[in-house]
Subunit: 190 residues, 2 copies
DNA sequence: TTCTCGTTCCTAGCAGCGCTAGAAGTGGAG
DNA sequence: CTCCACTTCTAGCGCTGCTAGGAACGAGAA
């Protein structure tokens, strides 16, 4: 039995190794650099080993994305904790979200642009996803007024997401970023 | 001279043919189906012909995207024309934008998610891009108040963009789309 | 009319991708 | 020590975007 246990432990470690290597490689050189061959070389195993852990490359990206959601939830929570009023809290969360997307573009892409096979907005969604969304929702709640809280949170989130993706693709001038962020927050906190 | 003229005309026609075929193929089966081989077969020429017209696949997508911006500008303009008040105009433009993204997902992707080599938000940007942006801006202007018009327009645009991309990737429940759209418009028209 | 030259276009191929079948190696059980 | 099951690797498939080099074509000169 303990042999089996050791093997399972080693398997789990290697799975972590894969996810971590994928994440680091992606953050360092972008997802285009994360090929199955390159990733295999990075973890010092052969290519097919990846497929004994994950169904395919998308599944690896999804695993990285789930890590990202946990990180995001933590950062949003920390930002919210520093604020003393609902308005400040929403602003802090918005700024934290923007900073997350700006500083970890590859991770953010895995979470929101790629990896479609992750269940979202359903009960089967991983807890980390709900945690991140709930952080946003907790910041929005005191300012919801008559609006549907879920829909309002999703709308605020969409605003942040649009701001970051359009800017990252060169669609928006970087110089006006703070101005835009302030406008968005102002429209949701009043 | 007229021989040269005929050749240039034929070249231009073939270029149009390529862009049209790429667009139709993308809208019918998605951009993944638009491979250079498939596209070459579609226009009944060999693969390398594409490269005598465009630098690469990205350039073809960029050409399709520019077409898309012209279409979008026209649809936004038409929507704005139907409205009689600034609030109605903003709502109409927002709804038109959402419908455009929903009904032409592949085209929308070419415009906003792929094709990074298109100049944006600079003077070198193609006129069609400015036309589309200006339609949005004209709808936002009467409601701008004290905010910077350009930044405000970009923020509203980001909200729409975020709404559509997150929904299309399965991050938002489709059922609440209208509710979210109404909230967004409400936050920018008051 | 025939030859030559410039252009156009195609065939064939490169390096790389995600993924997989089947062989080779490894280690515990009898 | 042998056997067997499991793990891991080598090799290869079909595909991608892209390109080099040669064949075919057509216009102008002799």
């Amino acid at each position: 039995m303990s042999i089996r246990a050791r093997r399972e432990r080693e398997q789990a470690e290697r799975e972590r190794l894969i996810v971590t290597a994928a994440r680091e490689l992606a953050e360092a050189e972008g997802w285009d650099a994360v090929t199955t061959r390159r990733l295999a070389a990075e973890i010092e195993y052969s290519q097919p080993v990846l497929y004994s852990h994950f169904k395919g490359k998308d599944a690896i990206m999804a695993a990285v994305a789930v890590e990202g959601f946990a990180d995001l939830a933590a950062e949003l929570g920390a930002a919210r904790a520093t604020a003393s009023t609902p308005r400040e809290a929403l602003a802090a969360v918005g700024v934290a979200y923007a900073r997350f997307a700006e500083q970890r573009p590859a991770l953010y892409d895995a979470m929101f642009t790629h990896a479609v096979d992750l269940p979202f907005a359903t009960l089967e969604a991983p807890p980390a996803l709900w945690a991140a969304f709930n952080e946003l929702q907790d910041a929005v709640r005191p300012l919801a007024g008559e609006d549907d809280l879920g829909a309002l949170t999703e709308t605020f989130w969409s605003g942040l997401h649009g701001l970051m993706t359009l800017m990252r693709n060169g669609r928006l001038r970087r110089a006006d970023h703070d101005k835009r962020l302030a406008i968005l927050i102002g429209r949701f906190a009043f």
